[in-house]
Symmetry: C2
Subunit: 298 residues, 2 copies
């Protein structure tokens, strides 16, 4: 099974480990995210919690599909090896439903952080209903209607990316606008994959920016428009990664475009968001919140 360090860098060498271990606060500690399914839930919550301990250099390992006692034994061996190597108890975040498999995982030399048991027990008590005992929720997405909504949204986003077509805008849930490289495409795709929302996107080019009105294709769907804004410094950096040293990437050009588009958002009353400090997840969530747009899945 593959492992991955939290920092995205290569694993520390034995030498690095020892050097780091001299200062105890810098000792590397292993963290495992273990599940009988994709481990997305365990990993999402686990990383979120680890981010509260930014001073600890964690080495993280994702172990999905630990759904047999044999695989659980493999996991236990990995955890125990990490303990021997680190000299610190590994943190084990798990979302395993089967009591036998969970018990096996708990037998490892670890600080076990069960994410399910306590919460499920409290809900069973409150509702008076016993949990089903099946694993994960990933199968929700295999449900035919959900699958279709999601795939349709992805293909819609692809077909209507970057102003490629405008004739299907009547079917769009939302049309993202912004200057080149302001984050429209990844946001459209995330809205599609995560929420089943049909998001088109349209780049406002120089011609559009200095015209006195919105392009015709957009004017007809003004109620669906949502504008992305981005700080000039950040836009310059992103564009330079694409075309270094060009007019397109120059500070002056980026600043002018941002000023012009801000004017359009204000004069046309288009809701908009400065996305400079935001991840794609944050942009998408803020858009739902600001527009009241309903998800089709999730």
């Amino acid at each position: 099974m593959y492992t991955n360090s939290l920092s995205g860098q290569d694993k520390p060498t034995i030498q690095n480990r020892h050097a780091l271990s001299l200062d105890n606060s810098q000792a590397i500690r292993s963290a495992f995210f273990i599940s009988d399914g994709t481990a997305i839930t365990a990993e999402t919550l686990g990383r979120s919690i680890l981010s509260q301990f930014a001073s600890v250099p964690f080495e993280t390992h994702v172990l999905p599909y630990v759904d047999t006692l044999e695989r659980a034994q493999d996991a236990v061996e990995q955890i125990n090896m990490a303990y021997q190597r680190d000299g610190l108890l590994p943190l084990v975040f798990d979302t395993i439903v089967s009591p036998e498999i969970r018990e096996k995982i708990n037998s490892a030399d670890s600080c076990n952080l069960d994410m399910y048991e306590g919460l499920i027990g409290r809900i069973a008590e409150e509702t008076g209903i016993e949990p089903d005992g099946h694993s994960g929720h990933a199968h929700d997405h295999v449900d035919s209607e959900t699958y279709k909504a999601r795939i349709d949204a992805v293909h819609f986003a692809l077909d209507n990316d970057d102003g490629a077509r405008t004739r299907h805008y009547s079917m769009a849930d939302i049309i993202l606008i912004g200057v080149s490289r302001s984050g429209k495409t990844p946001t459209s795709l995330y809205l599609a994959l995560q929420f089943g929302i049909r998001a088109a996107n349209y780049p406002l080019t120089e011609d559009d920016l200095y015209d006195n009105q919105l392009p015709k294709a957009l004017r007809e769907h003004k109620d669906k428009l949502f504008g992305l804004m981005i700080d000039t410094d950040r836009l310059v950096r992103i564009r330079n990664e694409r075309r270094a040293g060009s007019r397109y990437s120059s500070y002056q050009q980026c600043q002018q475009e941002q000023r012009a588009i801000q004017g359009i958002y204000i004069s046309q009353g288009i809701p908009n968001l400065n996305v400079s400090e935001m991840s794609v997840e944050e942009i998408a969530t803020r858009i739902l919140q600001m527009t009241g747009l309903k998800r089709r899945i999730g």
Copy 2:
């Protein structure tokens, strides 16, 4: 703030509520996912746990960005209203870091399921380090290197979708192959957005399927190929949603294509996966597991 029912259907009407409430086991119960950030973590774990109680009709509400006492008060009022309406204590899943805001949320009439406090306390005890107290982990993705890797991967997936281009395959981390509508495109995009992996995809058409060798563009990158398989019944259903009643969507055509591609995977020794019962998340996770491919972000 927007709300969304778990089933993706419209909210039950008051009339439905009463009808359902006659049978106590069917009484609707509200569940809230609350966070000072995107609420993705709270929602992911919360839905996963609720799926263990499939017999309970939950009405779910996602409240992101509850990051001031005022917003917390709004949330409390929503929770209390739900309690009055349902006659059952709402379940409140939260991942709020600020003690003041968490205390406010806890003051609502609810069954509070804190996802952070217990786990963070145990880690602080084990590591001897106090948590940072900042919220969420979403900002990880704003880190410039991570942002770039992610956006580059998304654009790579778009540019190399559906066999559009093959000249950049040397830069691909993986090349997904399969028949039309076997799930290549959403999987490529998910690999890009979630893991920063540069995934191209190439549809094997009839010409390719009945040739005695792989298309040239693929032959040169055989070590990067990964094949998707799909049950004929499911493929027929998916294709019929696109072109109903066509030869393309016929059982015979789908079956022939699947048989031919299976032959190619076997004869060429291409790792492959039957994705019929899998969500996009599951497909992507299984591919990482089977190939040992390393993520670039996460």
